[in-house]
């Protein structure tokens, strides 16, 4: 029996599930559906491609396959119970999400100034560890999109150590629920700082190896340089943030610009794309910027560990949950807070009414969502292989695109 679909007046759009129709194509064109099950769409992204053989005429991303109603959930949950859902927005960088979210709620509550510095240092330490893990995935899977399998396994091996460290601290490997509003779930375990130091010592030569096998590989450069060039004004107009914006040549990092948390006390610099191998803002620059950011994160971790083992040393009176409010009820306000996620600017928009523990509205501005929206502009007239290269260089996490 043929199923009958019920359309209402409001949503009668005949272009779904496809925006394009076979009848409207010219004789050379063909519709190619890439995804939602495809090896290199990084999850459940579907790209509807009008192609002339290998040449891409137009790309229409279709998203929503991983929509998990975060915003609707958030409207029904107290602030502290939203944190596990926040983990699942960008599941590759949960610590960064939690950090951004906790900072936002703390600012609303007005307790941001009272957070102990040891807590803040631990937060930055775990967030930067997670940033390295996220960039590893970005670079590794990008290599796989280009056709190099080996770097992926290498970065997974190195990422495994980070996951173990974070598991040691929080009890889970991917979705931590570690950074709480007003503090932490628990202090870092004894010996964590030393393990971090050892890991950094182990990691440094491995990063060089990764650069040798992938970033500076001749074929990799040929495949990515001058591909998917994103000019700066386009990037800003499309609201691109994070490594993609920096690869286009703008030194814009919220850790420096907004100077939130303890980042002003740390010594690191913001790498930007230089167009070394091709034009400024191409796929190679984006990957290279991510690679440089790993080095910067490594330096941040070293500084955090140094502080955590010297003047902010562990002591028995330290209670990471001391400031955690029993009842989180911010005053009635609208508030937009943002922080630098590995993918870009992660923003939370809150509206609270001051009478409830739950937000009236909690909107997430996911960096991947915005970064993906530039794809149709980037991927016009490129080859099919370049389309894959461009999609990979956006570093999408579909959990964040669809939320």
């Amino acid at each position: 029996m043929k199923p009958t679909y019920h359309y209402t007046e409001n949503n009668l759009i005949d272009s779904e599930p496809n925006k394009f129709k076979e009848e409207n194509l010219r004789s050379e064109e063909m519709i190619l559906n890439i995804g939602p099950q495809h090896p290199s769409t990084h999850g459940v992204l579907r790209l509807e491609v009008i192609s002339d053989g290998e040449v891409i005429k137009e790309v229409v991303p279709h998203i929503g396959y991983l929509h998990r109603c975060f915003e609707k959930h958030a409207e029904n949950l107290p602030f502290n119970q939203i944190i596990p859902f926040v983990d699942r927005i960008d599941y590759l960088a949960s610590m960064n999400n939690e950090h951004a979210y906790a900072l936002g709620v703390e600012k609303m509550l007005g307790i941001i100034e009272q957070i102990p510095r040891r807590v803040e240092y631990i937060r930055v330490l775990v967030a930067e560890l997670n940033r390295i893990a996220s960039h590893f995935i970005a670079i590794g899977t990008y290599g796989m999109d280009i056709g190099a399998f080996t770097p992926f396994f290498w970065v997974m091996r190195d990422r495994e150590h980070i996951l173990r460290l974070l598991e040691w601290a929080s009890g889970s490997r991917l979705l931590y629920n570690y950074i709480w509003i007003g503090g932490l779930f628990y202090d870092i375990p004894v010996g964590f700082e030393e393990q971090c130091q050892q890991y950094i010592k182990y990691l440094k030569p491995k990063l060089q190896e990764l650069e040798d096998i992938l970033i500076n590989n001749k074929i990799f450069i040929e495949r990515t340089a001058n591909v998917g060039v994103l000019p700066l004004h386009t990037a800003i107009n499309y609201g691109i943030t994070g490594p993609m914006l920096r690869a286009s040549g703008l030194r814009f990092d919220l850790r420096k610009v907004d100077a939130y948390s303890i980042y002003p006390e740390l010594d690191f610099h913001v790498p930007i794309g230089e167009g070394k191998m091709g034009k400024l803002g191409d796929c190679w620059d984006r990957t290279w910027v991510r690679m440089q950011e790993i080095y910067q994160s490594v330096s941040i971790i070293e500084q955090c560990v140094a502080r955590l083992t010297s003047d902010l040393k562990r002591d028995v009176t330290f209670d990471p949950q001391a400031l955690v409010p029993k009842k989180i009820r911010p005053a009635a306000q609208d508030f937009y807070c943002r922080a630098e996620n590995p993918k870009g600017e992660l923003g939370f928009f809150f509206r609270t009414d001051g009478r409830n523990d739950v937000p009236v509205r909690c909107k997430v501005r996911g960096p991947s969502f915005v970064n993906l929206s530039v794809l149709p502009a980037l991927a016009k007239g490129v080859l099919l292989a370049d389309l894959i290269a461009i999609v990979g260089s956006l570093d999408l996490v579909m959990g964040e695109v669809d939320r």
């Binding site: 290998e54 056709g147 396994f153 290498w154 992938l214 074929i219 495949r223 292989a385």
Partner: protein, 359 residues
């Protein structure tokens, strides 16, 4: 006769090549590879094969059914036919013919028809794109491959594969000069690797590089695995295949790997000759080559030929797990702008060198 030698060899080889591919890739990637099936996982390929032949033979509804069914077998038949022309050892020239190299290249070039049919008959957009890529790639690299083989034929003055083999060691009747400098150092009595083509003619090493790159493309191996480019075309030409027919395609691919490796060894690396030269009184080459006409030459010859080819196969595996994939236009420009012109230049210089040598 070669049929009964190469078919079991090929089956055995495919089992171990797939195992080697897994283990070598695992070694490169800091993994263990298969460990569960049998000691060190050696039975993994057999288990996989059993799984594959049990699977349902799915033919998509819109596929051209009969073509879809026969094209994998056609591809394999072409690859397998290539083996019949190869000499195995000094006593066994295979299907010996005066124009062996020519026939071999002709047979290898038929491979593209099989791949095109596989992609076309699937009636899938990814497969069709893969088939177009395969056709473009194989036809272009055929030329680079052909010219690099031609250089060897010019140097050795024959199209007979067995004669080319004979020329690279101590059974050759004329003197062989090291690095191709006439009258300098006759390595013919020494044998071993010194008498191989790559050593008696220095240019041939670079020609071999061209041959090797072109042969990677002919065998659809990474970095030239565009027809099946997993991250772009899902599975490329083999997207719609499963079970036994897919196994046959894989079998053809691994067979092609071995075939081009064997040809490379025969043309450049001393065919079935031993790599160890005679040093003074220690006649390693004579001992490890055996005596022609007796069973020793057969055993040693077969052993050296197969081992050298497997080394080449390992090299191909190593390359595959190191490099990213090229784009289609880079693939074309690599062939037409670099490999073919350089091969032609080497052809010219080899011809001139040959004249100098015979003056």
């Amino acid at each position: 006769m070669t049929f009964f030698f190469y078919l079991p060899l090929l089956l055995l080889y495919a089992l171990f090549a797939i195992y080697a591919e897994r283990k070598i890739s695992a070694f490169i990637q800091n993994r263990l590879g298969p460990m569960q099936t049998g000691p060190y996982g050696i039975a993994q390929t057999i288990a996989d094969f059993i799984k594959l032949i049990q699977k349902e033979d799915i033919v998509p509804g819109v596929a051209i059914s009969w073509l879809f069914k026969i094209s994998p077998i056609a591809t394999f038949a072409v690859v397998f036919a290539g083996f019949s022309l190869l000499p195995v050892h000094a006593n066994w020239p295979g299907a010996e013919m005066a124009s062996g190299v020519f026939v071999l290249l002709a047979i290898v070039s038929l491979d593209v028809i099989g791949l095109l049919l596989i992609g076309w008959s699937s009636n899938n957009k990814y497969s069709t794109l893969g088939a177009f890529r395969a056709a473009a790639q194989l036809l272009s690299y055929e030329i680079a491959l052909g010219i690099s083989v031609l250089v060897v034929c010019v140097w050795s003055g024959t199209l007979n594969l067995q004669e080319i083999s004979y020329r690279q060691g101590q059974y050759h009747t004329e003197p062989l000069y090291f690095l191709g400098i006439p009258g300098w150092w006759n390595v013919q009595p020494l044998g071993g690797f010194l008498a191989w083509h790559v050593c008696t003619m220095p240019l041939l090493f670079f020609v071999w590089l061209i041959f090797f790159i072109a042969s990677l493309a002919e065998a659809n191996r990474a970095p030239f695995d565009l027809p099946e480019a997993e991250s772009e075309l899902v599975g490329g030409i083999q997207t719609e295949y499963s079970g036994f027919r897919w196994a046959v395609i894989m079998f053809a691919e691994y067979g092609m790997m071995l075939l081009v490796s064997l040809v490379g060894v025969i043309l450049f690396f001393g065919s079935w000759y031993s790599p160890i030269p005679n040093i003074g009184g220690l006649e390693f080459a004579s001992w490890t080559n055996g005596t022609p006409g007796t069973w020793t030459a057969s055993v040693w010859g077969g052993f050296w030929l197969i081992s050298k080819s497997l080394l080449m196969v390992s090299l191909q595996i190593w390359v595959r797990w190191t490099f990213p994939r090229l784009r289609i236009n880079q693939l074309m420009s690599l062939c037409w702008k670099y490999l073919v012109p350089f091969a032609l230049i080497f052809l010219l210089f080899t011809a001139l060198w040959k004249i100098w040598l015979t003056l």
